[in-house]
Amino acid sequence: MACVNPDGKPTESGAKMLRSLKSGGKLPENVAEDTGLPLFRVRSGLRELAGNGFVLQKGDKYEISPKGIELLGKV
């Protein structure tokens, strides 16, 4: 996974995206703006994080899930 290391801790880019979502549901464009990551990386990363339950997709926006908050706590 690009957002979570094998040791169960988020990667730098994964943590950036999760941190950005802590302030509320956001569009990938907003997350890209917050993190400085390219939009394609954010779209791909959020899809992966959503697939693993770390974020929740609600319409076009993404929110951090309780599992995502737990993951962020491992940094």
Binding site: A2, C3, L39, F40, R41, R43, S44, G45, R47
Partner: protein, 215 residues
Amino acid sequence: MEVVKYEIRLPRIGDPAPSFEADTTQGKIKLEDFKGSWLILFSHPADFTPVCTTEFIAFSEINDALKKRGVELLGLSIDSVQSHIAWIRNVEEKMKVKIPFPIIADLNKEVAMKYGMIHEGQSKTATVRCVFIIDPNQIVRAIIYYPLTTGRNMAEILRLIDALQTSDKHGVATPANWKPGEKVIVPPPNTTEMAEERLKQGYECKDWYFCMKKL
């Protein structure tokens, strides 16, 4: 038993870019992830080869200029993610150049086949040097093929991006060897009335069909 042959239609200029989802050095990426940006999808024959190494350094050197134009880079070869990682780490260590863009590990050749990147007269196992320029609506806007022996020209790739973006923005065409700042070509008229009217519009016209203007 009848053998059914499936014809793969290779993308041409003006076609929607074939969609894909692929493993890359920056995670699993879909073509759709680049929607809204220009994309240069390019293939190279193999990791750890000298011409490809010079090209990767050259692509990295124009990456900032491309970003300013809203263009992302995406490389591809029929190598594994681990091979790509080892190679770009080697380039960083030996050549002091960081490769900032993702590279598709197309081990099953799925993306390469969709985009016609394998030319069997050159190699059955390696992709030739293709460049697909894909616009923000994911339409193929330009295609360049180079043989295995010849490294690509980054100035031409930048010039091509500038020309496409200028054409889109101003509804014009660009002449041979055009560079940003130079005169552009006003599209030919479609009616005799338009042909007559354009001669009064202050363009620099060689004749009714061949008018240029400054932007």
